[in-house]
């Protein structure tokens, strides 16, 4: 799969159809896979593909707008939902970007892998996909671990946009099907069963821990505003200090802005240094949007987002 990727990228760079290619590259240590921007032929070798390619690279496409030429990007099925939404929200033109879809069979969640293996990630030399298992090389020996034990949360409910024409595909792009054993919204229902006070306490504690480093905003594909309302001085929506009231405003307003846009890529939760359970917040957003308006972001290109449309017979508990 990796060599086919190299050939394609080399061809694209060679023909000059793209200025640079956004893919996954090896970091300084083998367990670190980082976004890498390949501009010239000799860098193509750095491109890798495997179960540790976690990042959703779609947001980087937005940077390509100031290039004269096009940008190429490697996207998993779930990442493509971000491309679909960016198209739907007029942020990119389809011809501006060369999309290479890769058949992904589930990505590893480093934190759970560490717990399951009992070994820090830095000792992991590499992870290989082996059907319904992962083969993890640590030092010399290799250990296999069942996939569903160490998969990223989102991989258990893998979803792809229904009809999307990739420019190139590596392997057959088909949703990775695995029995997650519980409903996709189990973690939300669990919180919903709590009383209002318990939920308040839970979220107040989480919001209080937030240091407002904005990583969740900067990594999110949907936060592409030229100047975010939080950075604006007049009107001042938010005071800069990470006080509880300001943190709560920050996270709830982001949740509202993500209504009908969140594609469950859970990058916000992955990059959060303070381990805030953000996916439990945004999973709720997706659950309500699905239940109230029967809509799922990033699936249909021409479907009108829910909060900018309406039905005459929407439910109306407000009589």
């Amino acid at each position: 799969m990796q060599d086919r990727l190299h050939d394609i990228v080399r061809k694209l760079l060679g023909e000059g159809t793209i200025e640079y290619f956004i893919g996954y590259g090896a970091g300084s240590e083998p367990h670190r896979v980082v976004p890498c921007f390949v501009t010239s032929d000799h860098e193509v070798e750095r491109l890798v593909w495997g179960p540790l390619c976690l990042q959703n690279l779609s947001k980087y496409v937005l940077q390509a707008k100031d290039l004269e030429g096009k940008a190429g990007v490697l996207v998993k099925g779930c990442d493509t939902r971000a491309i679909v939404e960016l198209l739907k929200q007029h942020q990119i033109e389809r011809e501006e970007v060369v999309v290479i879809g890769v058949a992904c069979q589930g990505q590893v969640d480093p934190r759970t892998l560490e717990e399951v293996l009992g070994v820090p990630m830095e000792q992991v030399q590499g992870v290989e996909d082996a059907g319904d298992q992962f083969v993890v090389t640590i030092g010399e020996d290799e250990r296999t671990v069942a996939k569903e034990q160490v998969l990223l949360g989102k991989c258990l409910y893998c979803r792809h946009p229904s009809a999307f024409e990739y420019d190139f595909t590596l392997g057959e792009i088909v949703p990775f099907s695995i029995d997650a054993g519980e409903s996709e919204f189990a973690m939300v229902e669990e919180l919903e069963r709590l009383s209002v006070e318990e939920r308040r306490a839970f979220w107040q504690k989480q919001f209080a821990r937030c240091i407002r480093c904005n990583a969740c905003r900067e990594v999110c594909y949907a936060c592409y505003c030229k100047e975010c309302i939080f950075d604006r001085k007049m009107p001042r929506w938010l005071d800069k200090p990470p006080l509880l009231s300001e943190n709560e405003i920050y996270h709830l307003i982001r949740a509202v802005h993500l209504a009908g846009r969140c594609i469950d890529c859970r990058e916000c939760e992955r990059v959060c240094p303070m381990n805030l359970p953000l996916s439990r917040l945004y999973k709720k957003v997706q659950k309500d949007i699905a239940e109230l308006f029967d809509y799922e972001a990033g699936i249909e290109l021409d479907e009108v987002p829910p909060l900018v449309s309406f039905e005459l017979d929407d439910q109306d508990p407000f009589m």
Partner: protein
Amino acid sequence: MAVEGSETGGNGFEPKILMFACNWCSYAGADLAGVSRLQMPANCRVIRVMCSARVRPEFVITALSKGLDGVVVLGCHPGDCHYSEGNYFTRRRGLFLKKLLEYVGIEPERFQVRWVSASEGAKFADTVAEVTRQVKALGPNRPRRNAQ
């Protein structure tokens, strides 16, 4: 009918409730309640907007997080909107926001959406009384001292 005056008894806690009223229907309904001298608790403060669709969910979140005890968005009955479609969006935003706020531990009574037409003075007064009673029962919206 609306509660005669507001009870200042009980634990003495008087909630402070923010109300958005749309210029064509609910603000006129509020005026009619006034014209008809319908007494109601003095906990609600009305902000006039041209259409209930102007009320950003961000206002509701900011108001509740800054410690106000309740926020009510009033609009025309669906189909009556002066701008023909405004309140359909208010309805959808309200549906979503209500569930989100409840999820993060804000009691449902603290954020409400109600349809009040220009001739429903009594309904406006009842809404004010009812919301005040409900929010008062919940107690203060936890003074948001900044726990760090």
